[in-house]
């Protein structure tokens, strides 16, 4: 695989909603033959998803809550394995999937930069070379040396994004967290993402904010119930997504007397 290339081929992953599971050794030994088939609901988070992203491309991913956006990122990042199919990224993958992902709460922002860099496979020298740029970009000032458990959501975003944006990744996977930042920092983030893309990085950005997608991505995939419902230019994809939401809202609404489903 070329660095920066992303391939999802018939990627499938289901989660069983664990109502009852053998969670202790005692249960496993005491009830070895009880199978909890009946009444166990299965969620198909990814259902034969096919997507290919070329190096240097920016793909936006939208969908309702539960459509499979975060699961897709987690499978691409290698955190959750697939049941079948392929989900691979070429080159160095850096992900920002949740606020405070990978932070040790007792440690300062600076120490967490080292820890986060290390988690992504960077060595001490590589991090040293970047640490000043990371601290500057975050605009955290003296708070960089304070334990991160005292940070607000916005500060977590500043630190987390700073780190991710300076690790010179081939693939950046970013989940819907930008909304937590204030307008000016969000702008700064999107600019920085654009810079990285000019360097040749590939981006997969999950967001509920159409403006963020429009600003950075030219292509968007709309996920619905684990499937790719639309894959194409942003100009067509976002209206498609809105229509999908409107249709579903209309379908959910109980029909009142005198009203038809069409209006």
């Amino acid at each position: 695989m070329a660095p920066g290339e992303i391939v999802l081929e018939r990627a499938s992953r289901a989660f069983a909603l664990a109502h009852e599971r053998n969670r202790t050794l005692k249960e496993a030994f005491a009830r070895p033959f009880v199978r909890h088939r009946g009444g166990r609901s299965v969620v198909h988070a990814l259902d034969k998803v096919d997507l290919r992203v070329a190096p240097g491309e920016a793909l936006g991913v939208v969908g309702r809550n539960g459509a499979g956006k975060s699961s897709t990122l987690r499978c691409l990042a290698g955190i959750v394995p697939l049941d079948s199919g392929r989900a691979e990224c070429g080159g160095r993958v850096v992900s920002l999937l949740e606020l405070g992902a990978g932070f040790g709460p007792e440690f300062s922002g600076r120490e967490n930069i080292y820890l986060n860099g290390a988690l992504h496979g960077f060595g001490r020298d590589e991090i040293e070379a970047r640490i000043d740029a990371i601290v500057d970009f975050s605009e955290l000032g003296e708070f960089i040396d304070v334990p991160v458990k005292t940070y607000s959501d916005g500060m977590y975003l500043r630190l987390g994004f700073s780190i991710v944006a300076h690790l010179d990744a081939d693939v950046m996977l970013i989940d819907e967290i930008l909304a937590v930042g204030d307008e000016s920092f969000q702008s700064k983030c999107l600019e920085r993402i654009a810079d990285q893309m000019e360097r040749g990085a590939t981006l997969v950005l999950v967001s509920h904010d159409p403006r963020a997608i429009e600003r950075v991505c030219r292509r968007v995939a709309v996920l619905d119930a684990g499937r790719v419902a639309f894959d194409g230019p942003v100009a067509e994809g976002l209206p498609f997504y809105h229509r999908l939401l409107a249709d579903e809202a209309a379908a959910d609404r109980p029909v009142r007397a005198g009203e038809t489903a069409l209006g």
């Binding site: 053998n22 955190i79 405070g100 986060n116 290390a118 988690l119 992504h120 060595g123």
Partner: protein, 257 residues
Amino acid sequence: MRYAFLFEQMVRRELRQKYKGSVLGVLWYLVNPVVLMGAYALVFSVLWRIVDIPDYPLFLIVGLIVWVFFAQALLAAAPSLVLSAPLVRKVRFPREAIPASVATVQLITFAVMLAILVPVALAVRGSLDPALLLLPVIVTLLFGLVLGLSLVVSALHAHYRDVEPVLGAALLPWFFLTPIFFRVDDLPGVADHRLIGDALEWANPIAPFIQALRDVLYTGAAPSLGVLAYLLGVAVLALGVGALVFRRLERDLAVIL
């Protein structure tokens, strides 16, 4: 190795969490085995007089520090993955680094205790033996056993949450069956039940390690080839099983934690 720096970071994290940054913290851990040694020596050698072993405190402490390393490492490793759930669920990295860093921190503690014990042992025995050169070998193999088992218990506990308490409960009788404060050959019952005697010495993977360390530090002789072969075999087996079990069980860790 790309993740060498990560491993270093995790060991520092563990060390800091355990010792809260104080150098004396490591020395604190010496207090536990020394107190135990004092108590056992008092009861078995002085008061009850059922052991007739020269330099009994030295005999005791060698076995005790091996046991403390083994038991503490496993007890800390078992919940380690669960405690690091936020990390495991959100970032991709080699997860074996977690139980490995826990075991390494215990190894550091063990090494410090050994460093203090060796000169004491030499002073008590009054001789410097070439068998001492085997010490790093024995310690390395012991770490192999501990690391392998740490991988197993950490992965198992993530799936079955009573592994940690079960382990805690099992370690108590295990301690008493390990020849820490007695010699198997000294037990009166062993003469009539030779099989049990052999089981005590060989079926318990920790026993030959204590035997080897006693040979070097307490007796001043090299361990027998049989013991050394056993140590090597057990270490390799534990690492192999540990790696296998961990690989199998860690697939869906991000989902079940």
